[in-house]
């Protein structure tokens, strides 16, 4: 080919490129123009703000968890379910295991029992209850006005039926653990009994449950409070229930909205349930649709959705100035991040942790404590999350207001202190390379496991490694990289095959409605990935759920002691607590993002105008 042809081609390409670039800049000009136009005369102020935006620090205390106002009659609401994947479509509380499914169910079904802000059952829900003196016998009365969407009343039999299905050996959902505390549930599950002894239907609306052991956990989420319409499911074999049309295509519940139509995995439309027992909902219609995380911001900006179930908080600083048509609600997230130390293995045969401090590189509590002192979690929160995560203190996040003990002093960033502790514990730099050796003078290199995900995972891991290196402790990423989710949990031991090479790991827990931490840090639970146990810990955990702990003050005391003990022993240390943000369009009123002690309930949500507010 001649040179002339090549240059001609190059010219053509340049032309095309030029066109594309021009189109791009045209687009972004437009976007800016729109923003400026709407903000009107406050334009100059905004400029100042956006210049600082990068380094701006936000505080969750400045956000309100709810929003009130005067709603118009009727109206439609568009709800975005933010997910990379479709929702699985198991639309019944008794069978679902996918979190997105529960978001879909929440609109049309609800628990029979309501909880207050400490996650304790109240008498405000669809069912009321009485407890006996010992606290193991509950008598529930379902309100007369509570009906299924097809008009049938909700009966005690429906509730008992749900529990029987869950305890059935053919049941294919994950909730058996929630009912196993009922007297006779295990026998029923093993086929030794025809019915569950602890369930007694007294009359149409009254159900009595007897539990093996009275514990305060029963009152905070320990009772299975979702009914299953027996008149619909009666004839379906238990094994086929979760794949039946009654779950997947025409689900019904007792909630404020009825399912109108379902496009599998993509969207659901609801209409209001005029017969809702609390009163008629304000909205006429709700549409829920799945939107990809990559397009959340655009969907909110164009009013395609009025609100979303979750919003990536790390995007907040970038969009706070441009999303002018949206109010951000916020609250404490019920999760915490932590750094854990591997101190043993899992004993599969006996179903308990097998602690082995001797052979663990991090078996020395002083080393672990020094590593806690070496990291600056407030700086992590500010630098990586603009203040929307912050230094955590104990293993009961401040989310549990009445149990979180903020009087406990926990190590915070102090490298001098870390150095001092290490010096005293005998970790000295023998060979002069700037890295400490262990007290026996042997080289000490710790392997660190952490998960990939998001833009911050890698820099965050590097930050921790550098912080530890600054006090002379050499930590390396295991395999030199971050691990994929499944791989990570396999290797830290979610099935008991702990990878012996891992010494330190970073993970996070989202905690349940019940404050009891036994499920995470008890000696017999596989999720205690540190494989740490000791008598005092076991004692405190048991006391926390003992009948005596039905007394709130006693339970608070026990858990204060436990929080403090964990700070002393450092099998793990919490790093950051988190904030959760939820954007809602300005036209949406009466919405509360809390799951507990809501002041505004779902049926009250409304809109102020027919069309979404645009920026």
């Amino acid at each position: 080919m001649s040179k002339a042809k090549f240059s001609k081609l190059l010219f053509a390409m340049m032309l095309v490129l030029l066109l594309v670039l021009a189109a791009c800049s045209g687009g972004s000009d437009d976007a800016e123009g729109d923003g400026g136009g709407d903000s009107g005369d406050s334009g100059s102020e905004e400029n100042n703000d956006s210049e600082e935006a990068d380094g701006e620090i936000y505080d969750i205390a400045d956000f309100s968890p709810s929003k009130e106002g005067e709603a118009m009659d009727g109206g439609e609401l568009n709800f975005g379910l933010v997910s990379d994947t479709v929702f699985a479509g198991t639309l019944n509380f008794n069978f679902y295991s996918d979190v997105y499914d529960s978001e879909v169910i929440d609109w049309f079904d609800e628990a029979l029992l309501e909880v207050d802000d400490t996650f304790t059952y109240t008498q405000e829900g669809a069912a009321q209850f009485e407890v006996n003196e010992e606290g193991n016998e509950f008598t529930f009365t379902i309100r007369d006005e509570v009906n299924w969407h097809d008009g049938e009343p909700v009966t005690a039999e429906d509730w008992a039926f749900a529990i029987e299905v869950i305890a059935d050996p053919d049941y294919d959902g994950p909730r058996y653990g929630d009912v196993v505390n009922l007297v006779g549930a295990e026998e029923y599950h093993d086929g030794e009994a025809d019915s569950i002894e602890g369930l007694e239907i007294i009359d149409d609306k009254t159900l009595k449950m007897t539990f093996k052991q009275a514990t305060p956990s029963l009152l905070s989420g320990g009772i299975w409070s979702y009914a299953l319409p027996k008149h619909i499911f009666e004839d379906i074999p238990v094994a086929d229930m979760s794949s039946s049309d009654a779950v997947r295509e025409n689900p019904i519940g007792i909630g404020p909205f009825k399912v109108e139509s379902i496009t599998p995995g993509e969207s659901v439309t609801y209409t209001k349930n005029e017969d809702y027992w609390r009163g008629e909902p304000s909205l006429d219609k709700v549409t829920l649709k799945v939107i990809a995380p990559q397009t959340v911001v655009q969907a909110l900006e164009t009013g395609e959705v009025d609100m979303v179930d979750s919003f990536p908080t790390d995007q907040y600083p970038d969009v706070v100035d441009s999303l002018t048509n949206v109010d951000f609600l916020g609250r404490l997230d019920r999760s915490y991040s932590y750094v854990g130390f591997k101190l043993g293995t899992w004993d599969d045969e006996n179903g308990k942790v097998d602690m082995d401090l001797e052979n663990s590189k991090v078996g020395d509590v002083e080393l672990r404590r020094a590593m806690w002192y070496a990291v600056d979690n407030d700086a992590v929160g500010e630098r990586f999350y603009n203040g929307l995560r912050w230094n955590a203190t104990t293993l009961m996040p401040s989310f549990y207001e009445i149990y979180h003990d903020d009087s406990i002093e926990t190590p915070t960033y102090d490298p001098d202190m870390a150095n001092q502790i290490l010096d005293e514990a005998g970790y000295e730099d023998v060979d002069g390379d700037g890295i400490r050796e262990n007290p026996d003078g042997e080289e000490l290199v710790l392997n660190y496991a952490t998960m990939e995900g998001g833009d911050t995972a890698e820099p965050l891991a590097n930050y921790y490694i550098q912080s530890w290196e600054q006090v002379g402790i050499k930590v390396e990423k295991i395999d030199g990289r971050l691990l994929e989710f499944n791989d990570f949990y396999d290797r830290i031991g979610q099935q008991g095959n702990d990878d012996p090479d891992i010494d330190v790991y970073s993970a996070a827990w989202s905690v349940g409605t019940d404050v009891d931490p036994t499920g995470l840090w008890g000696p017999n639970v596989i999720y205690n990935f540190t494989r740490w146990e000791d008598e005092e810990n076991t004692r405190l955990l048991e006391e926390g759920v003992s009948p005596e702990a039905m007394d709130l003050e006693y339970r608070q005391e026990v858990y204060s002691e436990w929080q403090e003990y964990m700070v002393e022993q450092v099998p793990v240390f919490p790093t950051v607590y988190r904030a959760e943000l939820a954007p809602v369009n300005e036209r949406v009123v009466n919405w509360d993002i809390r799951q507990e002690g809501q002041e505004i309930l779902r049926y009250e949500v409304g809109v102020t105008q027919d069309e979404p507010v645009l920026p």
């Binding site: 001609k8 390409m13 994947t85 198991t90 069978f95 058996y176 969907a299 979610q494 019940d514 639970v525």
Partner: protein
Amino acid sequence: MWKFIVRRLLITFPQIVFLSVLVFIMAQLMPGDALTGLIDPTITQEALEIQRERLGLNNPWYIQYADWVTGLVQGDLGQSYRFKTDVTAVISERLNNTVLLSVVALVFTYLIAIPLGLISGRYNDSPLDSAITGYTYLGFATPIFIFALVILWIFGYQLGWFPTSGSVAPGMQPGTMEYYLSKLNHSLLPGISIALISVVGTVQYLRSEIVDTKQKDFIITARAKGASENRVYNRHIFRNSVLPIAAFFGWEITSLITGTVFVERIFGYPGMGLLFLESIGQRDFSVVTALTLLFGIASILGALLSDIILGMVDPRIRIK
């Protein structure tokens, strides 16, 4: 011809068996299983163990494989753990979407590619040709996931001409005209995005074939006979130049089923590619193996189809 097809099909069978064994073993080697995502302190370890036992996840791979093949022979692909329903139901839901999207993409691809290729070949080395070739180079260089995002942003969000996610508007009743129009509407933008990028190969093949054919003796003969320029191009040259496109066609049919992961993801379009990716991520093995088998069969049949079409278009290629 028939002999050839039968022989090809016979070779195909062991290929598929080998493929399925391979997939099964690889699936076993992946860390985690369908229950890994359920790490949740409110769900007890015992409850998960019961589920693992029930699903047979604790069995060695060959027993699981044998179970699977037994089911397969009976036409049962098993249950999806995640969707808690039959794998066939899950797949058929998605298959419709993917076929629709691929047909739309295919139609647009040929609608764009053939005229561009023809013009480019006929007026080669003209500025018009340079512009078209320039576009194809640009298309080769542009990653589809960036391009699709830009298209979505411009036409979906800025101009608002097309829906931005899903395969159908919420609340449509299946079976109505509105429903099908809405489905078509939802597949247009992703379909066009795929077409605009995937035309480049076809355009270039067509162009070079035409440029090549133009100089052949029989074209000179045709001209000498006095055939009009249009006739020369549309009859003599075009027919002899579509060979590579015909060869492509079989493979395009394969993509009808396999879907396109990137585009489906960006447009939130629930098709097969996305299902495959999700099922791997969530370790929903029954779906993964069923899909792999389906994809394997599709690509083997696609290759076969390509050969057959080629044989029909060009007798020289036909195997005796």
